[in-house]
C-alpha cells in the first residue's frame, strides 16, 4: 500500500469556491479548520445545499462567506445578523448560518447578537473567537482576555472579556456550545446540531490567530496555540455558564461543551414565503 496518495482536489472543494483558493488566511490561522468543519456539517444537514446560505460580517472570519460555494453574503462590519434576519424572515425555507468573528459579532455587532438570541429567531451563529480583531492587525476587542497584550493594549488589557456562551444563553439562545478549532469532530458535530436546531443556536469556536494575537502574547505559532488548547481544555457539557470565563492563565481550564439545548418559542413573524415569488416577476 502506498503511503499517501497525491491529489489535486479535495472532497470539500465542491462546497468551496476552489478558484479562490488559497484563501487569504495566514499560515497557522485556525479559520480554515473551522470552515472545513462547517462544510462537513453542511453536507450532513438534511437541508439541500442550495438552501444553505451563509452571512458574514467583516473581518478575517468574515471572509468565510466568500469561500463557501453557496449563496453567501459578506455584509458590513457587525451587521451579519440583521441581514440574516431579513433573509430568514423573507424566505423561511433558507437555512441561514451567520459565520463571523468575535469582534464582528460581539463588539460592533453585540446588540444584534443579544437581540437575535432574545427573539429566538431560527438562525445559526458560528462565532470564531480568536481573542482579537485579526483583520485590522491585532487590536483588543471584547473577547480579549484581561491582561492580554495587543496593539491597543500594550500594557495589557484593562478590560474584562465577555463570556460569550453565558451572554448569549442569558439573552435567550436555545443552543449554545463552545469548542476550539482543535476539537474538530466535536465542533463539526455541534455545528450539525446547531443547524438542525429550531431557534437561535450559537457555536463559539476558539481558534488561533498567530499573527494578531499569538505573537504579542507568547503563544507562538498557530501550532503552539493549538497545543495550548490541548493542554488547557476540558469538556464539561453541564458546566455552569457563569464559571466558564476565559483567561490567559495557564492554571484556568478552557471549558468546552455543548452547554445549552432547550426549547423556547421560535420567532416567526407571519410571512408566507412562497407568496414572495409572485411579486417578483414583473419582467422575467
Amino acid at each position: 500500500m502506498p503511503s499517501e496518495v497525491l491529489a489535486d482536489s479535495h472532497p470539500a472543494d465542491l462546497l468551496l469556491r476552489a478558484d479562490r483558493l488559497p484563501h487569504i488566511w495566514c499560515p497557522g490561522c485556525g479559520l480554515g479548520s473551522v470552515m472545513a468543519c462547517f462544510t462537513d456539517a453542511m453536507l450532513a444537514s438534511p437541508v439541500p445545499v442550495e438552501q444553505h446560505v451563509c452571512v458574514s460580517g467583516i473581518g478575517c472570519t468574515g471572509r468565510v462567506a466568500g469561500y463557501l460555494n453557496i449563496d453567501s453574503f459578506h455584509t458590513t462590519h457587525g451587521r451579519a445578523i440583521p441581514f440574516a434576519i431579513g433573509l430568514k424572515v423573507a424566505d423561511p425555507r433558507l437555512q441561514v448560518t451567520v459565520f463571523s468573528g468575535d469582534g464582528d459579532l460581539a463588539a460592533i455587532g453585540g446588540n444584534h447578537l443579544i437581540h437575535a438570541a432574545r427573539r429566538n429567531i431560527d438562525i445559526t451563529v458560528i462565532c470564531v473567537n480568536n481573542f482579537n480583531y485579526g483583520m485590522t492587525g491585532g487590536q483588543a476587542g471584547p473577547t480579549t482576555p484581561f491582561s492580554a497584550k495587543t496593539t491597543t493594549t500594550p500594557r495589557g488589557n484593562a478590560e474584562q472579556p465577555f463570556n460569550l456562551p453565558h451572554l448569549v444563553a442569558t439573552a435567550g439562545a436555545v443552543y449554545v456550545s463552545r469548542w476550539t478549532s482543535l476539537h474538530v469532530r466535536q465542533l463539526r458535530q455541534s455545528m450539525e446540531e446547531a443547524l438542525n436546531k429550531r431557534g437561535f443556536s450559537f457555536v463559539e469556536v476558539l481558534a488561533p490567530c498567530p499573527v494578531g494575537f499569538g505573537k504579542g502574547n507568547d503563544l507562538g505559532e498557530g501550532l503552539d496555540e493549538m497545543w495550548f488548547y490541548r493542554r488547557r481544555s476540558i469538556v464539561d457539557h453541564g458546566a455552569n455558564l457563569e464559571d466558564i470565563d476565559l483567561s490567559m492563565s495557564e492554571d484556568e481550564p478552557i471549558v468546552l461543551g455543548n452547554f445549552v439545548n432547550r426549547e423556547r418559542t421560535v420567532f416567526a413573524p407571519a410571512v408566507e414565503a412562497l407568496a414572495l415569488q409572485e411579486v417578483l416577476n414583473g419582467t422575467p
Binding site: E50, G66, D71, I85, L87, A90, L280
Partner: protein, 404 residues
C-alpha cells in the same frame, strides 16, 4: 398577483400621509418592513405592523435603525420587496447601510419623514433639511434617487413608484417626505390593483450554471439581473469592491468600473426618474422652485404675488435626486429670476445655483419647525422681481442663509 390584489385597499380614503405611504408599500407588493419607531414616521410602522401580516408579509421591529435597514437589505436579497421608514436621527444611522444597498445593488425603499434637525432637534415639527444628506450621506460615491411627496396622495403614489424604481435600478430609493405631509390627513384615492404601476425586478433568465456572473449587466441598462438565493445560483455578494463574479478585488481598475457602473446605471437613465410639475409657469417672470409641503405654501405665495402684479410660477420638484438639472436650466432660460423655497438653510438652492447660469437665484428659507410662511416666499418673489428688473446680468446669488 393574488398577493398584490389582497394588499390593495382600493377606494377613497381620508388618510394621513404616513398611512398612505404604508398603503402604497402594500399596494406595491412590499412584504417586509424592518423598522424602529421614530416621530414623525412611526405611523407607517404602526400601520404596517397591523397590515403586513394580513397580506402574508412580515413586520419586524428591530433593535435600532442599523438593524432595520440591514434587515431590509437582507429581505431584498431574499426576493422580497422591502422597506423601512424613519426620520433624521434614524436616517443618519442608516447611512452606512445605504452604501451597502448601493454596493450590492439591493433594491429597497427608505421613507424619511423629515423633522427639524440637527440631532434630536424638533421631533414633532417639520423641516426639509435632509436633502443633501440623502445624496451625500454615505461615504464613497453613489447616486441617490429621492422622491418628494407634496400630498397624502403622493405619499401613496410615490411610495409605489419608489418600489418600482428600486427594482428597475437595483438601488435604494428614498421617499423624502416631511412631517407636515406625514401627519396631514387628506383624501387618498387608491386605484384597483390592476391599475397600480408595477415594474418588477429582473431575475436571471437562465438557470444557474458556471458561466453565471451575478454582477454582469447584460445590456445597456447596466443593471445585472438579480438572482434569488436558495435555488442554486450560489451568488456571492460582498460589500467589498468586486468583479462581475462578485469576488472581492482590491484593484483600482475594477473599483472604478464598478463604482461608475452603479452610478451610470442611474445617471444615464435619469430622465426615467426625474419628475417635476409646472405650475403657472407659462407667463411667469419669477420661477419658484419648491417641493414637499413647501410647494403648497408656494402655491399660496404665487397667488399673492400675482395679486401684486408679479407673475410668478412654480417648478415643483417631485424628484430631488437625480437633481432635475435640465428642468432648472429650462426654467432659468425662461424666467427673470428664481426663488428656491425650502425649510432648511439653502440646500437645493446650491444645486439650482450650480446650473442656473446667469439667472439670479434667491433663497427663501428658514431652518424648519413650522411651514415656511407664504409671506416669506412672497417677500422673496418680490425681491427677485425687483432684482430681475434692475440687473439683467448674472447676480451673485443671495439669500438669508449663510453659505459654506
Amino acid at each position: 398577483m393574488s398577493v398584490r390584489a389582497a394588499s390593495v385597499l382600493t377606494g377613497s380614503h381620508f388618510m394621513n400621509g404616513d398611512t398612505a405611504s404604508a398603503e402604497g408599500a402594500l399596494a406595491a407588493g412590499c412584504l417586509y418592513f424592518g423598522g424602529y419607531p421614530i416621530t414623525p414616521s412611526t405611523e407607517i410602522a404602526e400601520r404596517l405592523a397591523r397590515r403586513l401580516p394580513e397580506v402574508g408579509g412580515a413586520y419586524v421591529q428591530m433593535e435600532d435603525e442599523l438593524a432595520s435597514i440591514t434587515s431590509v437589505i437582507g429581505a431584498s436579497w431574499a426576493g422580497a420587496r422591502s422597506m423601512t421608514a424613519t426620520s433624521g436621527p434614524g436616517f443618519s444611522l442608516m447611512m452606512e447601510a445605504i452604501g451597502l444597498a448601493a454596493m450590492t445593488e439591493a433594491p429597497c425603499v427608505i421613507v424619511n419623514v423629515q423633522r427639524g434637525g440637527p440631532s434630536t432637534g424638533l421631533p414633532t415639527l417639520v423641516a426639509q433639511a435632509d436633502i443633501m444628506q440623502a445624496r451625500w450621506g454615505t461615504h464613497g460615491d453613489i447616486q441617490a434617487i429621492a422622491l418628494v411627496p407634496s400630498s397624502c396622495q403622493e405619499m401613496f403614489d410615490l411610495t409605489v413608484r419608489a418600489f418600482n424604481l428600486a427594482d428597475r435600478f437595483r438601488h435604494p430609493v428614498i421617499v423624502l417626505a416631511d412631517e407636515v405631509i406625514g401627519h396631514l390627513t387628506e383624501r387618498v384615492v387608491i386605484p384597483e390593483a390592476s391599475e397600480i404601476p408595477f415594474v418588477g425586478r429582473r431575475t436571471p433568465a437562465l438557470p444557474p450554471d458556471e458561466h453565471f456572473r451575478p454582477f454582469r449587466a447584460l445590456d445597456d441598462s447596466l443593471v445585472p439581473p438579480m438572482p434569488l438565493p436558495g435555488i442554486g445560483y450560489k451568488t456571492h455578494v460582498t460589500s467589498l469592491t468586486h468583479d462581475e463574479r462578485g469576488y472581492p478585488q482590491p484593484d483600482a481598475g475594477i473599483h472604478d468600473t464598478l463604482v461608475r457602473r452603479i452610478s451610470d446605471k442611474i445617471t444615464r437613465f435619469q430622465s426615467q426618474i426625474i419628475d417635476v410639475e409646472e405650475i403657472a409657469l407659462d407667463d411667469a417672470e419669477i420661477g419658484v422652485v419648491a417641493f414637499g409641503s413647501t410647494a403648497r405654501t408656494a402655491r399660496r405665495a404665487i397667488a399673492l404675488a400675482r395679486e401684486r402684479g408679479v407673475r410668478a410660477g412654480i417648478l415643483r420638484l417631485i424628484t430631488v435626486w437625480p437633481f432635475p438639472e435640465d428642468a432648472i436650466r429650462a426654467l432659468a432660460n425662461r424666467v427673470d429670476a428664481i426663488v428656491v423655497a425650502e425649510m432648511n438653510l439653502g440646500q437645493a438652492r446650491r444645486e439650482v445655483e450650480r446650473v442656473a447660469g446667469l439667472t439670479p437665484v434667491i433663497g427663501s428659507h428658514h431652518a424648519g419647525g413650522a411651514l415656511l410662511p407664504a409671506e416669506t416666499i412672497l417677500d422673496s418673489i418680490m425681491e427677485a422681481a425687483h432684482y430681475a428688473q434692475r440687473s439683467p446680468g448674472r447676480l451673485a446669488s443671495r439669500g438669508s442663509a449663510a453659505a459654506g
